[in-house]
Symmetry: C2
Subunit: 317 residues, 2 copies
């Protein structure tokens, strides 16, 4: 599925095989495991990879090319074991089509998603099949129906030092098994803004912010599927407040705004409120050509949540 | 359902009657209509009222009190006609329970929602049934499991002049029928920040921002249901860029963060990117005690969307 045609571990981990009746076979992959510190519990699978898996099944049957709005509620811990994606189409309109999709293991929903597909600009074609404007032209609106509106506006991109001034993040707490092998974090390349990397050495910045350049370690152009990985790809923003340990996502919604250009993605994530055991995390993903390509907001649990890992939580305010 | 016990038009419009098998009878109400300029098409019903209606049905069967995460995809235009809410519970956990809920008219889904309920701080009780801390103490974390985490942090609230320095918004384009009667906008009281009100007189601020104090015209304390109204309660942020006309929401996710204190709500909404016919709109709702009580993000269509109203769209960049 990659633009380069390579089959990466990510593509293998998110592959689905079509069965009958809107059902797809899937195989949550231990290479994208989140591992409990101490290894006391079976590893969970990274949520972004699960969303990407569900999106493959949805896009397989979608009349429109892009997952404009993907809402995912995480109900149970996904394990590295066979799963099924069940897709039900609710509407197929001209500008938007909507499906429900569930990732199911052992007969129970692990992830429940609603996906509205549509067409976003970029990626060599614009809506309506008209020739693409040059990549990187910045403010190109889509064509087709949208051209009638023609309104274009973008806020300022997040500040991020160039990659050579960032620090390679490597594995972080929750991604290293007792035997030292790394799961999810070994699959991604994260060049972190030093200004928000102090938590790595016990000196959190005191703000719920994470920023860095993000990509797979294997060569693969970004697309809708890796955007799903990127929006939840950095460590939880509460690490910036001194929290460590699991921060299980309860709900995450991603909006795809544009087909990303090749190259590393810029990801900025921040939270607005931590309290009552909950925190929000917003993320923006910008591509190498300087376009905002995806946005997300999630709500997650601080500290121990429903990942029954036995992991200890150290949350300091 | 209001804290004051009054039955307002909002409470009547969002009322549901339990039937068998997770089904609820509902009556989308013309008092919350969005009316096409010129009145060429049957009015649509405000999306926030529809979400509140769905939430009533979900909360009726929820083991946990608050709609922490509500993801709603809007598939079709809701009409002022009988409807049914169909609720399916997917999980009932200790900290989170998840249901799917569809608002159906004429056998077709109008709004498809997934709701994860839980417990948020405020409102006289904290999780676990412990006595409440005083309203307005600002940084009170919930008790129960969350108390173990104890992490509290909140970003700066949006700047908004006091109500007496704001302008009463009154009806706006899309809320006034050809005969001059107002729908949705006549039900809500919106005291607008003058800095972002210029679009009312053909002088848009040039930024996709809306800010104001918000409440029902009838006396009623805010709660989870009116938060659903508030997060989509102001005019579309693209009006600040000179757009007028319909801006149909395609997907909206709301996170409830705290039970709101009585009084007017402060709502700030903004967008980050308009392009390809789509725009995002984020909203924060703060209560009179200075707490962040709800957040949302939606993605919507600029100009004419799937509301087949015949309304003309004037979008200027």
């Amino acid at each position: 599925m990659g633009v380069t045609g390579r089959v990466t571990a990510f593509d293998e981990a998110t592959a689905v095989r079509r069965l009958a009746g809107g059902r797809y076979e899937a195989h949550p992959d231990p290479r994208f495991a989140l591992v409990a510190p101490g290894g006391a519990a079976p590893p969970a699978i990274n949520g972004g990879v699960l969303i990407a898996t569900v999106l493959r099944a949805v896009l397989d049957g979608s009349p429109l090319p892009h997952p404009v709005a993907t809402s995912a509620h995480f109900l149970r811990v996904a394990r590295a074991a066979p799963a099924e994606v069940r897709v039900t189409w609710l509407k197929a309109g001209r500008t938007a089509a909507t499906a429900r999709a569930a990732l199911v293991q052992d007969g129970e929903p692990v992830l429940e998603a609603t996906v509205t597909t549509g067409t976003v600009p970029g990626g060599g074609t614009v809506p309506g099949g008209a020739p693409a404007r040059a990549a990187g032209d910045g403010r190109a609106a889509g064509g087709g129906e949208a051209a009638g509106a023609g309104l274009c506006w973008t806020g300022a991109p997040p500040a991020l030092p160039p990659p050579e001034e960032c620090v390679e993040l490597g594995p972080w707490p929750g991604t290293v098994a007792a035997d030292g092998t790394a799961g999810y974090a070994a699959q991604v390349r994260t060049l972190f803004d030093p200004a928000v990397a102090g938590w790595r050495h016990g000196r959190p910045a005191g703000r719920p912010e994470m920023r860095g350049w993000f990509g797979l370690r294997e060569e693969r152009d970004p697309d809708a599927l890796t955007l799903a990985l990127a929006v939840d790809g950095l460590p939880p923003v509460v690490f910036g407040l001194g929290a460590t340990g699991w921060a299980p996502t309860v709900e995450l919604t991603m909006h795809m705004r544009r087909v990303p250009a090749p190259g590393l993605l810029r990801v900025a994530a921040w939270g607005r409120h931590v309290g009552g055991g909950w925190f929000d995390e917003e993320a923006e993903v910008w591509d190498s050509a300087g376009h905002l390509v995806a946005q997300s907001r999630q709500i997650a649990r601080v500290g121990r949540g429903r990942l029954r890992t036995g992991a200890d939580v150290t949350a300091r305010s």
